[in-house]
Structure formats: structure tokens, C-alpha cells
Amino acid sequence: MNPGVTMAFDADHEIMAPTSASEHEPTVALHRGLTLVTLWHVLGVVAGAAMMLLARRGGDQELPGTIGVALQFFAIAAFATHAYAAYGIRTRRHHARSASLVVNYLTFVVAAVAVLHQFGAFRAIGSLGEGLNKAFIPFLVAAIGLVWILVAGQISTSRPAAKSPPALRRAGQVLVVVGSAWFVIAADPTGMFSAITDQITSPLTLASIGLAAGALVATRFMWHRDVGRLFGTTSSEERTLSGLAFLSPNLIGFLFFFAGPLVFSLIVSFFDWKTTGTSRSFVGIDNYVEALSIDFASSASANAGVEALKPGYQVLMHLDWFGQNWLIGARDVTFWLSLRNIIVFLVLAVPLSVLPALGLSSILASELPRAKIFRAIYFVPSVAGVIGVAIIWGQMFQSTVGWINYIIKRAGDILPFVDAPSEGHPWLSSNSTALLAMVIVFAWMNFGFNTVLYLAGHQAIPKDLYEAAEIDGARTWKIFRRITVPQLRNTTFYVLITTSILALQLFDIVWILSTPQPGGPDNATMTPVIALYNEAFRNNNRGYASALAWVLFIIIFGFTFAQFRRDRDAATPGGVS
């Protein structure tokens, strides 16, 4: 290995530390290192060009925005930056160091990811599931040991005089070691290694490994302080470089798994893109038009059908408005029905999960003993997991032996005004009550969370307001009406918005509870997200489904935006955002 590079390795442990070497003039080793980095960049230019060609190969079958195109862009950028860095380092350009660092770091990341991908290391993460399944008991042993160590640490900080914690800690460490060793033996990771050794002989893999290693070494060398001094890097630039370095794991993932897909989704929504066929043609806003088109027709009879509407439209609903029969038709009836359902759901479910929270939080906030226990209990449904909760409620709503019908019946026996049907009411398979059942489950799950949000709002109310009111002899109700509610205005707004956004994306509860198929019966519980899921993954109509997603996003964004505007306008205490 080159002496300059080794030096960089040795001296680089403390990046920001003023090392003794920094006081010297640039050494011979440093210059030799820079020469090597220049050569490396020349190699990088070649690699970039090669990558450009490689990425082109698979790129023409897919839509724009896919990985192939992204790689091509990266290759072009890398090509240019490597060239600039090679030239800049030679001529000691001011920005050459930053350019070299950025391009080397990114080359390292891309090459390393490519190597791991070729090794199947990512897919191997999935296979870890099998190992964990086989070695679950050793895993538990190690986990208990870990918790043990933490508890021992807690005890030793709270009671420093106690003698037992070191022994406890030792026992925990033994457990962790034994558990881990046992885990490795039981999980039997040999299969993973064999997959890796199979791949290592591929020339592409070897090239990627070389690229990753070279880029890593070059990055470490260029990061060194002495190099920075040589190129006259200012402290502001130094900060930018470290800031980006710290942010990079997060930012790269953010761009790759969030921003990129987001843009891709918007593009796809303008394509007629079905995964079943090969047709992937640009259709402009046709998907949006298809989703949103509705047609009105007035008709003489209440039973007028499709023939009264424009071609391509289906009957959405009949309206009897001042004696005139109106017929409303839509091209995508399911989506419109889902919009209608979700609005009904919103109107019922949001007040039902917010108003109890307002009342309960006002009680819990009034310095009541044991309030924390109630707060914890109310919170549990929102953390228990929606699938389990939905399964429980499915049994509660069961028509013959369900608790809901039983309780209504018993209430009917005692209270004369409760009119219990003699037959068990089929809550979930009846068109009129299926959505109501979903409302109940949703409200049950979310009111506790909202209660906690309100409790935070209560903390911001000045206590002297209440004291003044009590001195005046105001009644509890009046205090609630005149002080609590107005003071919680911002919290209420926030809670309403977040609950609405959640309600608009209703999916899991309906998926489990609706019969005979998700969204049933007769689309009575069809929600936009279920409609979208069906379009995208049942009908394989990805372009159209993306358009539905953006329509839904715009609706949700309306709520979010209202929240954002308000936050900005009223940055006052009491709001909990």
C-alpha cells in the first residue's frame, strides 16, 4: 500500500483534532497521496463512462424515473465530477477537495450498495427470519441478559452504595454472551456465506468491490485536515462537508425511498399504465378525468337508469329534490361511492373521537388523583394494533352471539324505550349499519390518543384563569364553556385535523371487518384507499390508481394545509404542534 494512504489512515482518527502533523508544511507523503488520488479520479472517469454504458443497457424498457435512468444520471454526474476533481487536484483548485470528497463518497455508497445487492445481502436480511425462528430461545436468553444489564445499570445509578449490581451486571453479560453464541450456532448462517462466496468471482462484483474500496480510501485521505489546509478550505465549507456527511445516510434514503418514488408516482399518474399488458402510453390528465367525471340528468321517473346519462357513465345515485328526480352518474362509480362513504365516515367518526376526548381530558386535567391510570387505559386501544382490535370487534358485532346485540337486548329488557330487534341485527353485513360499525371501532381506537393530545393543551392554560373564575363562584359547566373550550381552540383545531387525515385514509379496519369482500356489502364501506388498492393490485391498473392516490392526496393536503397555515398564523402556546 502507498505510504501516503497509510499515513492518512493512521492520522485520521481524530478528524477535527489539531494534530502535530498539521503544524508542519505539507509533507512528501501528502503530495504523493494527492498524486494517487488524481490517478484514482482518472480511473473514476473511466468507471463513470463504463457505468453510463452499463446503465443504458437495461434502461429502455421502463418508464422514466426508474433506477436505470437514475444510475445513468449518477454516472454522468460522476464522470464530470471525477474529471473536474482530477484536474482540480493537479492544479490545486479551491473547490477540488470538496468535489473529490463528494464524488468519492457517493461512488463508495453506490458501489458498496451494488456489491451488497449482487451478493444478495439485502435479500439475505429477509432470510434472517428463518434463523431467528430457529434460534428464538437463544435470542430470548440474550435479550433477557440485555434487559438485565440495563436494569442493573438503573439500580446502580439509583443506589450507588449497593453491592449487588456488579454481580447482576456480570450475570447479564454472561447471559448475553451465552445467548449470542447459542444463537449463532442455532441460526446456522452458513447458507448466507455460501451465497456470498458464489458471487465473489463475478467480474462485475470484483470491479464494484475495487471501486468501493478505492473510493473509501480516497475519501478518508481527502478528508484529512492537512489536505483541507492545502486547498484552503474555509471553516464554513468544512461545516457544510461534515453536515452533509452526518446527514447523508438519512438523506440518501430519503431521496431514494421517498422523494424519488413521489416524483415517479406523479409521472405515472399521467400514463395509461397497466402491468398486465404492455401499453404504457402518455394520456395526459385522462386518468384524473376518468376518476372525477360525474354527470347530472333530470328524469321523469324515479327509476331512470343508465340510458339517461352520457355514454360511459353509470348510475351513482338517485336524488329526489323538490319533486324533481335527479340522476347522478359517474364514470368511476366505485371511487365516487368511496368518496361519499368517507365523507359520511368523517362526519360521524371525527366528532365521536374528538368530543369525548375534550370532555375526558378536562376531567383528567383537574388534578384528580389516579388520573394517570385512566389516561393510560384510554390510550391502550391506539397502540394495541388495528388488526387485533378489528378482529375483536368483528366478534363483538357478530349477529347471533355478539356482545353488542346481547347488550342491546338486555338493555331492551330493562329499559322500555330501547327497542331491541328480536332477531340479532347483522351489523357488518347490513348496508345501513356496516359503516356505522366502522365508525364505532375507529372512535374507540382514537379517542384515547386525542385525550392525551388535549391534556398537553390543558397544560398551557394559565392556572390563574381558573382561580379567578372560582373566586367569582362560577359553576363547573360555565368554567368549561367559557375558559377551557376557548383556551383549547388551537388544540381542538389540531386534533380535528389529525383525526380527519387519519379517517380519510381508513383502510385496515374495513379490510378486516367488511363482508363479504373488502368494502362490502354492496360498496357500503368502500373507502378511497380500498378502491385504490383494488385498482392497483387487483386490476393492475397502476397509472389510474396513482391518479386516485393524488386525488386523495389533494383532499388530505387541504386539511394539512389548513393546519399549517394556522400554525404559522398563530404560533401561540396552547397549540401543540
Binding site: T66, L128, F246, V268, I377, V383, I387, A456, I556
Partner: protein, 396 residues
């Protein structure tokens, strides 16, 4: 407010307040009680009316002298005492007394003497049967199979339709539901898979969020505020919009039907970064500056100074990550092939198991209880961090 006052009226109000709080708590807890009791029931016990909160087993009798070996004990609506079912495969006949006034009588299939008469109306044979010692004319309605019952203390045996009797039940939880659902319904593999995904997501989120949060909070670099606005804005994007492109990305990476698709895209958390940033902003910068002057690198300062101070925020982040990953359903439903048992998650397996065509309700509930226990326990232990932070940040 009023609860702080004294006097009889205040006491009254206080009792009322607690009654209200307890009523709501009961409303919250009751479905969970139903779940726990159902998870320990036998399937036949779930579909009885009226519903019961007590898991019950059928009462059985074993008595070698009377050749009884775990025979079920029944009650009859119209007979006193308890009856043991001795044999449930007896040929029976149901007779309807002529005249239509008296109730149907169930007797052994060979009981009754054929009188030779024939009913005029419908051409049925008329039999002479013995009802409480009296001979009654009756027609044979149908032949069937029923049970031979014996009084529990011994005595004359009777024959009767089994459906006319109700089995006696007593408290008897069936704990075998849990091992059964874990082993037979593949919930064990789903449990470890869920654990793997959850741990990986939590650890990944903590690491990337600490690094990103530190950069946003403490390093004043060019473009920081713009990137931060981008992160803030991303919190507003509903996940629904990302489903299709993310699925397409997974297809290209060949990550579909693989647990890695549930891990890697979710270790980068804009929300977690935001949370850590807020916490780091609250740490006095003097601590860091002192360490910088001592010659420590940023990397060292972050892990040696900042991270130990940020333990509450990390605990909150870990709890959020845990609950999110453990309970997530939509994305796994899209990306994991539900027919492949090796990649099942708890939520997916439960949804398939407890879906529209579910048969083993007791096993489904045992699975649901297994799936719900860890998040509830985590919440109860981490409540302090969790509740504080959900209140200040509003993550749902």
C-alpha cells in the same frame, strides 16, 4: 375545578366523576377482556347464546364401574337432574301423538307396536306407544339417531335427541389454543419475522435519526434550512401516495415478497430526524463547545456527549418505531405474498386467519392476544416518554 372543592356536593360530584371515568375505562377494557376470554375458549363455547366472559369446558364424568370414560353431562329443559350421555349413536324415532294436542315423543326406533290402523288424512301407520305408563296412539314422524342418557347418580336410562339437551359447562380455560395457533397456524414464524422487522427498523431509525437530527440541530451548513423544510414537508405526504411507486421500486430491486422490503425503506424516518433535532436543540451548546475545545471530533461528541443526554428522546423514538413496525399492515399486505408462510407477519397472518372465511375463532383470538400483548407492554413500560412526545409532536 369542582373536584378540588369540599363539602357534600363536592363529594357527590367527585363520585360522579369517577363513575364516568370508570364507565369509559370499562368501555375500553371490555373488548380486551372479551378477547382474552375468547382466546382461552373452545370453539363450541364461543358460539353459544348468551355470550359468556368465562371460558368454559363441558362437564364430564369418568367412572370405571359404570363404564363411563369422560362422558359429557347434559341438562334437559323439561327433565330434572343431570344426565350422562352414554351412547350418542342410538337409532331413534320421533312419534307425534294422534290428535295433535300432545308434544312429540322421542323413543327408541323399535319402540311402539304397529296397530295396523292407518291415518285417514295422510296414510301414515298408527303406532301404540307408551307415554308415562299410558298407551297412546301416535304416528311416526321420522327416524333419526340420538343419544342414550343415564341419570348422573345412576338409574333408568332414557333415549332422547342430543340436540334437545344442553351440555353442562364449567370454568375451564383451554390454554392449548396458544401453542396450537403458534405451531399449526404458522404464527410462530410470523412472530419471529415481525420481531426481526421491528428490531431492524427501530435500530435503523435510531441510528439515521440521531445522525440526521444532529446535523440539523448542531452543524450550521449551507442548504440546511432548505433540506429541513423538505423533511418537514414530507411528513404531510400520506403513505398512500407512495405505495405504487415503492412497490415498483421493490420489483426492480427484486425485493418483493421479502422481509427486506419492510425494513430498508423504513429505516429512514423524517419524523424521527425531526424528533431528534428538537431534542438536540434543547441541549445547551456549552457542553458541546467544551468538548470541541478539548479536541474531540464531532463524531465523538455526538456519541459520547449528545447521545447519552438524549436517552429520553431515543426511548420515545424507539417506542414509536416499535409500535409502527409491529402494527403495520397496509405495506406488508401489498409487498408480501400472503400465500408464502415463510414471510408472514403477525398482522398478515392474523388477517388471513381471522378473515371472512375463518373457522377456528378461538385460535384467531389466541393469535390476536399474542400479537397485541407486546405493543401494550411496551406502551405501559415506555409510557412516560411516549405520552410526552406524542403530545408534543402529534405523530399518529
Amino acid at each position: 375545578m369542582s373536584v378540588r372543592r369540599k363539602g357534600p356536593r363536592a363529594t357527590f360530584v367527585r363520585v360522579g366523576t369517577y363513575a364516568l371515568l370508570i364507565a369509559v375505562a370499562a368501555l375500553v377494557v371490555f373488548p380486551f377482556i372479551v378477547a382474552v376470554s375468547t382466546s382461552m375458549k373452545r370453539n363450541s363455547d364461543i358460539f353459544t347464546y348468551p355470550p359468556s366472559l368465562v371460558p368454559r369446558a363441558e362437564v364430564t364424568v369418568s367412572d370405571a364401574e359404570r363404564a363411563l370414560d369422560g362422558n359429557t353431562v347434559y341438562d334437559f329443559a323439561e327433565r330434572d337432574g343431570s344426565w350422562v350421555l352414554v351412547d350418542d349413536d342410538i337409532p331413534l324415532a320421533v312419534f307425534a301423538p294422534v290428535g295433535g294436542q300432545a308434544d312429540d315423543v322421542t323413543l327408541a326406533a323399535d319402540a311402539g307396536e304397529r296397530t295396523g290402523d292407518i291415518m285417514v288424512v295422510d296414510g301414515e301407520d298408527v303406532f301404540l306407544i307408551d307415554v308415562d305408563g299410558e298407551a297412546v296412539e301416535a304416528t311416526r314422524v321420522r327416524l333419526t339417531v340420538g343419544g342414550l342418557f343415564e341419570p348422573i347418580d345412576g338409574g333408568d336410562q332414557i333415549v332422547e335427541l342430543v340436540s334437545a339437551a344442553t351440555p353442562q359447562r364449567e370454568f375451564g380455560p383451554r390454554f392449548e389454543n396458544f401453542p396450537q395457533v403458534v405451531n399449526e397456524k404458522n404464527l410462530g414464524r410470523s412472530l419471529t419475522n415481525t420481531l426481526l422487522v421491528t428490531i431492524a427498523v427501530v435500530i435503523g431509525q435510531i441510528v439515521t435519526s440521531i445522525l440526521g437530527g444532529y446535523a440539523f440541530a448542531r452543524i450550521d451548513f449551507k442548504g440546511r434550512d432548505k433540506i429541513f423544510m423538505l423533511y418537514l414537508g414530507s411528513v404531510m405526504i400520506p403513505f398512500v401516495v407512495l405505495i405504487i411507486p415503492l412497490f415498483q421500486l421493490m420489483l426492480q430491486l427484486d425485493w418483493t415478497d421479502n422481509l427486506v422490503a419492510l425494513i430498508i425503506p423504513f429505516v429512514f424516518s423524517a419524523y424521527g430526524t425531526f424528533l431528534m433535532r428538537q431534542f438536540f436543540l434543547g441541549i445547551p451548546s456549552e457542553i458541546e463547545e467544551a468538548a470541541l475545545l478539548d479536541g474531540a471530533s464531532r463524531w465523538k461528541i455526538l456519541w459520547r456527549v449528545m447521545v447519552p443526554l438524549a436517552r429520553p428522546a431515543i426511548a420515545a423514538l424507539a417506542t414509536f418505531g416499535f409500535l409502527y413496525a409491529w402494527n403495520s399492515f397496509f405495506w406488508p399486505l401489498v409487498i408480501i405474498n400472503s400465500g408464502n408462510p415463510d414471510n408472514g407477519l403477525l398482522t398478515l397472518t392474523l388477517a388471513t386467519l381471522g378473515g371472512r372465511s375463518s373457522t377456528d375463532t378461538n385460535l384467531v383470538f389466541a393469535g390476536a392476544v399474542i400479537a397485541m400483548t407486546p405493543p401494550i407492554l411496551v406502551f405501559l413500560f415506555a409510557q412516560r416518554y411516549f405520552v410526552e412526545n406524542s403530545a408534543t409532536s402529534g405523530l399518529k
